[in-house]
């Protein structure tokens, strides 16, 4: 038995098969990015050449110049995505808790309604909302864009949190309270460590969904709130592979960083638990 365990498990506790599939997954994720990177430094690239015939940093020069407004857009996109993530947590956590922990009349209907924005195309929602946002004075503002991004991000957050809380015993909080923790301490030391993996996944979803919003940003932002997808789509639809590549490299950066962090956290969950719940 011991010998057998030795064969299927490598030192790290993962079988070679798992390593192989991980390697495939990474390849599958990273490989499409290679042409993007090459395009961003290509001067000309003709079919069927395997590599560009001339290289140039022109696309990068343009992208990093003030004319392109890519760097301010990066900041705007980041602020909006972070704000949306925080708001999604503030709304999605209690909502997910209510859905996950309690049974009440009309719960199935509410769950369906929460899912609706993920099924209904964004443009349909946005066209109707545009007038509302205009009247509220939110159109063309960063806060307006932030709020409208909640439409596609909240369903993910609420459903992920509902799933987390469905397997959660709220008595653990009561136990902590009885042992002398106040509300905040009970949340910090008991609730948070238990829901953290789900919370991170939900936040990751919220961040990336906000990060990639195009039509909602365009319509509610009215062009005055310029995010990276807007600039990216300008050039992608025009067939400018070099500039699209360069903006694309910047565009995927935060997502990659987040994914790496999330992956690291998920794989080292036990250690991370200890760290967050350290007494």
């Amino acid at each position: 038995m011991q010998e057998r365990t030795h064969i299927v498990r490598s030192k790290n506790g993962l079988s070679p098969l798992v390593w192989l599939s991980l390697a495939l997954l990474v390849t599958w994720l990273v490989l499409p990015l290679v042409p993007l990177a090459v395009w961003s430094v290509s001067r000309s690239w003709f079919f069927p050449d395997i590599a560009p015939s001339a290289y140039s940093l022109r696309a990068w020069e343009y992208v990093l110049s003030p004319t392109s407004e890519v760097l301010p857009a990066l900041g705007t996109t980041l602020i909006i995505a972070l704000g949306v993530t925080i708001l999604s947590i503030l709304i999605g956590l209690p909502a997910g808790r209510a859905l996950g922990l309690y049974r009440f009349r009309g719960k199935a209907l509410i769950e369906l309604l929460i899912l609706a924005p993920t099924i209904v195309p964004g443009i349909a929602v946005a066209l109707g909302l545009h007038v509302v946002f205009l009247k509220a004075g939110l159109a063309g503002t960063m806060s307006g864009v932030l709020i409208v991004h909640l439409i596609p991000t909240l369903p993910y957050m609420v459903l992920v949190m509902a799933g987390v809380f469905a397997n959660y015993n709220p008595d653990a909080e009561a136990q902590a309270r009885s042992l002398g923790a106040n509300r905040l301490q009970a949340f910090r030391y008991v609730t948070l460590p238990a829901i953290l993996p789900g919370l991170l996944i939900g936040s990751l979803f919220a961040f990336l969904v906000s990060w990639s919003q195009y039509i909602l940003t365009l319509l509610i932002g009215g062009g005055r709130v310029v995010t990276l997808p807007l600039l990216l789509f300008n050039f992608a639809s025009a067939g400018r592979n070099d500039i699209t590549g360069a903006i694309g490299m910047i565009y995927i950066l935060p997502g990659m960083i987040l994914l790496v962090f999330a992956a690291r956290y998920m794989s080292g969950r036990n250690q991370a638990y200890t760290a967050t719940g350290q007494i």
Binding site: P52, H130, K135, A238
Partner: protein
Amino acid sequence: MTGTRFIFRTFRRYCCHFAIFAILTYPLTIHASEAEFKNWDEVVDAAKGGTVNWFLWGGADNINAYVSDYVGGELKKRYDITLNRIGLSDTAEAVNLVLGEKQAGNDDNGSVDMIWINGGNFRTMKQGDLLYCGYTDLLPNNQLVDWTDPSIANDFGLPVDGCEVPWNRAQFAFAYDIARTETPPESIAALIDWVKQNPGSFTYPAASDFNGSVFIRHVFYHAAGGVEKLLGPFDQTTYDAVAPKAWAILNDMKPYLWREGTTYPNSIASLAQLFANQEVSLYFDYDPAIFGINVENGIFPETTRSYGLADGTIGNINYVAIPYNSPNKAAAMVTANFLLSFEAQFEKAKADVWGAAPAIDVARLRQEEQTHFAALPRNPAVIAPEILARHALPELHPDWISAIETGWQEYVAK
């Protein structure tokens, strides 16, 4: 490369929205045509320190740089106006914005001050009373515009009526690689034969693409034996007589197209890619400047050349327009006036800047300014606009265009 393709593409989809909105908002409609300024000095004074939010297609770095750096810089320097360029992928997005604002009752503090526009989007905005009109005579540089030219006074068959200011001229042209193709076909009739002799070397984007639609119209003109019968409002009888011939030509061509016509590129960018990859031998675009830009960008080979057709190619003017609810009308007017100036038009015409044909009548410029234009070096890939303009064909009424696009989907694509 002009805004035309982008502004026009979504016209029909947009028309439906508009019809509904127009009905809903009809009682609220107010006419936004009366000019509020007595003379140009008042406009310039009012514009000082203002901001212009200019919404325009943003898919070309050279156009973006021209607008942001050159136009923006000059406006700041000369008039203390801040130009805010807002890049779009589709001009209809800006039209939608103004429409939404009107629906919400935002009649004086809109977010759009200027739009690069023509065709269906202009029709939508003009007929929906979404435009600020009647100010063109105030602009000093308006005298450089030849309003007697019907192709300027009419935007896709709709009278401009002082609701927009011309900016660029665009005319359809073909491009080829002299290293690969010695004698490209120079008429639609010749193209039909050429395609059959060179199977797999030609294709055109589907009718849903702006440029694809324009190509199909050229075939339609050819089938009709000339454009004259097709001018004016849509006529079903004429359509029924011409359409079968046009579809027959295109269907005969089909087996000789790239991939035997089983599929069509879904955008002009795809066709550019096919040409760059040497999969097809011919490329075309409504804006010949794109040929030079693509060569500059290394997308097309240096040996790219372009030409018009002996029986003419379709041309149009594209404009800038000011929405009725712009809070910065004076600054927008100063911007529009500056765009018409010799300096701005000349800068724009430089091949290394943009290479766009001027919308002003060069003959109305001072002598030395005309010489500048004449001496302008041009990318060898771009055919001279004046040569192209010798054989120009007008655009059709949008109803015609719509009918042709629908017919192509029905009888050719299937």
